[in-house]
């Protein structure tokens, strides 16, 4: 039947793709049509099956059913090698880089140029320099991946794909970890790739990005395609509704805060980063219970070190952290937790979750010796499971199966597990880093509402986020961080994104006011 249909104007056709994981129908007869030379968005809730669909296109997993056509011809893609030969390249949601190796080594791996028996490093380096120039992706070929910021790492991923001669590029949530500037740079690159005739499949949760650079959109929900639209004929709001199946509020509503006593005080804090350079340089701030203090800033300005110092994961060089009136500067993370400090870490796989543990163990991390869950020797498995069933329902973790391992959850659902755990333990203060990174609009709405209701219950919240929109819609006060120092404090209702943007670029608030 499909034989009669002419797919030749499509770079990619996926027809009737079905993929079942134990207990989950991740893709249910999915059809995807991507025209040659277009930027095509795939959007959908966390766990909708976007990554699964792309993993099948790239040969990482095999469909249970369905066919794939590349440039109109049916293709058998059994492993990544087949995908590479079909000129398909993928930038994965969680980067696939060997972090101890250099940029060159990562890019050529698997297709190394050789001279005699040896790996021709110089030739590889040159080819990469040419590619970077051609596509405006500047990287230092000899840097080691682990020393590079994520934005750079992502460039390496893209060059890796181009080096293999890819004509069809799949980018799975490429902007989730990027700063606004890096996102703009990425878009320039994508436009230039498109003008050179490449086809791009672009997965994102940020609907304004869909509106900005794509031509058409496939919307997925619970493993099925629920809509295919031309970008020019839709809007963010309509897409959001299609994704979630109901009206979504793109900004939360909140009443004004009623802050209580000061609960956290940071005084002249100095913290060094891994290479021994000062990342936080004499920073002071305070948080009162019942308010949300947002820290705006471009990634890499000391936010990571600041959170790690406050939660006890990193040594403080000088200065003081006072929590509930007690100097906790030297306290262990466990002690801080017992005192009621909750933490949603920015790197969910590294600090938030144990990938090889089932959900129900992940829910009690850090609380495992609470008498609710343990009698001192043994864990009370039944109680833990009941508790977990509850949380999974309350936070709408999908699929709601508490035996699933952390690594088998979609990215967004991993995040929900962490948020659920931290909120459930009823903290007095929450340090929240990038709480909605990689979450779909529905989940963002939910987490934002949850944070507001925690605030209204009198919990103090310190919110660190690279998303200005998030900072503006949640914070009662906004502090802007630049190179480890606070540039100024403003209230969202009395400021503009431009003003905060200028502070993020290193201008002090008092200087801005003098100029004005």
């Amino acid at each position: 039947m499909d034989k009669n249909v002419d797919y030749s104007k499509y770079a990619v056709v996926m027809k009737g793709i079905t993929k079942r994981f134990p207990g989950v129908l991740a893709n249910d007869r999915v059809d995807l049509f991507v025209k040659k030379g277009e930027i095509h968005a795939i959007v959908g809730e966390n766990g909708a099956g976007k990554t699964t669909l792309m993993s099948q296109l790239y040969g990482l997993i095999k469909p249970d059913d369905g066919k794939i056509y590349i440039n109109g011809v049916e293709a058998q893609i059994n492993d990544p090698n087949d995908a590479i030969s079909a000129k398909i390249g993928m930038v994965h949601q969680h980067f696939m880089l060997v972090d101890r190796l250099s940029v060159v080594e990562n890019i050529v791996l698997g297709q190394e140029p050789v001279r005699g028996p040896f790996f021709a490093l110089n030739r590889a380096r040159k080819e990469i320099k040419d590619l970077s120039k051609k596509f405006g992706l500047i990287v230092d070929p000899d840097s080691i991946i682990e020393d590079m910021p994520v934005g750079m790492q992502q460039r390496v991923e893209i060059i890796k794909v181009l080096y293999r001669g890819a004509e069809i590029l799949v980018l799975d949530e490429p902007t989730a970890v990027l700063t606004p500037q890096e996102t703009n740079e990425l878009f320039e690159v994508l436009k230039s790739l498109k003008s050179q005739g490449k086809t791009i499949i672009f997965i994102t949760h940020k609907l304004n990005e869909v509106m900005a650079i794509t031509e058409s959109v496939t919307v997925m929900r619970l493993g099925k395609v629920t809509g295919v639209v031309k970008t020019s004929q839709t809007s963010s709001k309509e897409l959001a509704n299609m994704m979630v199946g109901r009206e979504v509020l793109l900004t939360v509503e909140k009443n004004s805060a009623h802050p209580g006593d000061e609960i956290l005080q940071v005084k002249d804090l100095v913290v060094k980063e891994n290479r021994g350079i000062e990342a936080v340089r004499g920073l002071s701030l305070n948080v009162r219970s019942g308010e949300i203090v947002g820290i705006a800033g471009v990634a890499g300005n000391g936010q990571t070190e600041l959170t790690e110092a406050m939660t006890g994961l990193r040594k403080v060089e000088s200065g003081k952290i006072i929590f509930k009136g007690q100097d906790i500067t030297g306290f262990s993370p466990k002690k801080r937790r017992e005192m009621g400090m909750g933490h949603i870490p920015e790197d969910r796989l590294k600090h938030g979750l144990i990938k090889t543990f089932p959900i129900y163990y992940n829910f009690i991390l850090g609380e495992h010796d609470d008498p609710k869950f343990s009698d001192g020797v043994f864990l009370k498995i039944e109680d833990i499971r009941k508790f977990s069933e509850n949380l999974v329902k309350r936070f709408d973790v999908r699929p709601p199966k508490i035996d699933l391992l952390g690594m088998n959850l979609s990215g967004g659902n991993q995040q929900k597990v962490i948020v659920a755990r931290e909120i459930a333990f009823d903290p007095a203060l929450m340090i929240v880093s990038q709480p909605t990174r990689g979450l779909d609009v529905g989940a963002i709405e939910f987490i934002h509402k949850t944070l507001i209701s925690m605030r209204d219950k009198g919990i103090g919240i310190l919110l660190i986020s690279m998303e200005l929109e998030e900072i503006f819609s949640l914070s009662d006060r906004i502090l802007t961080i630049y190179e480890g120092q606070i540039m100024g404090e403003v209230r969202p209702e009395n400021t503009t994104t431009e003003e905060v943007g200028l502070m993020m670029a290193g201008h002090r608030l008092e200087d801005l006011h003098q100029e004005a």
Binding site: P80, L97, L109
Partner: protein, 319 residues
Amino acid sequence: MNEWIQAIINVFTNPTFYKSTLTQSTPLILAALGGVFSETTGVVNIALEGIMLMGAFGGVMGSYFTGNPWYGLALGTFFGVAMAALHAWASIKYGADQIISGTALILLAQGITGFALVELFGQPGSTDLVRSIPLVDLGSFKQVPFVGVIFGNLSPFVYIAFASVAFGWILIYKTKLGLRMRSVGNNPEAADTLGVNVYNVRYFGVIMSGFFAALGGAYLSIGELGQFTTNMTNGRGFIALAAMIIGNWNPVGAMSASLLFGGATAFNNQLQSQSVLNLSTNTQYIFGMIPYIITLIVVGGLIGKSRAPSADGVPYIKE
């Protein structure tokens, strides 16, 4: 106090100490290089001790039955490769716990060699003397003072060990196979997405580790002595693992650390034989600990500086 200083000076001014450092280090260098090969690809191989033992036994067995020690060497390395293949099969194909598989192989090697010793040679403890691999005689060079004594009459194993290190370093850092080994040992998933066959590369690393560790073992039996004795590796496989770690999983580093351990053993042997000291048998035991104390101190000092490949010891299972 003075006699101690005198004794130490005696050791360091005697070329025998340097020659002994080379011969003591040789099996360690080879086995540690084996460890580097395996762990670079992400498979922990604590079975080095057992593989060395099989290499040593195979060496004597081959030499005994054919009268040609080179055939012995071939049989020894074959045994080593076979042992390593077992480890690879269990830990790569079936994702077995690599420590358990390695431990099982050490016990297996001890059992097999103990049993075969009695079956073939009719006695426990040690085999008959067999022909050993001839030394490399440099002729008149031996007359040159000092260096002539050190290098005039060394076992070819010593040269093989250093050549193997150069070979290993070039392979791992300068060839495309080496790049794949390092990628598979650090992030097998990433390598897989680029079409690198993780399993084949790991098999290669583990099997090479069997080859080199068995060479090191064969040196112990047919390198100088021409005899196998029960458990003659005597923990050298573990010292080699330590050398690999101290050497930061790099062939040259592992070699340097092996030389340090070999030197410590040589120093200790030479010092004990200094008559000025007049040591009792009991204090000699204390001296015997010197290499291990050095291990502890060096390892302690290196904590945090030496880093294993990120995926070392982690089985890779697809889908």
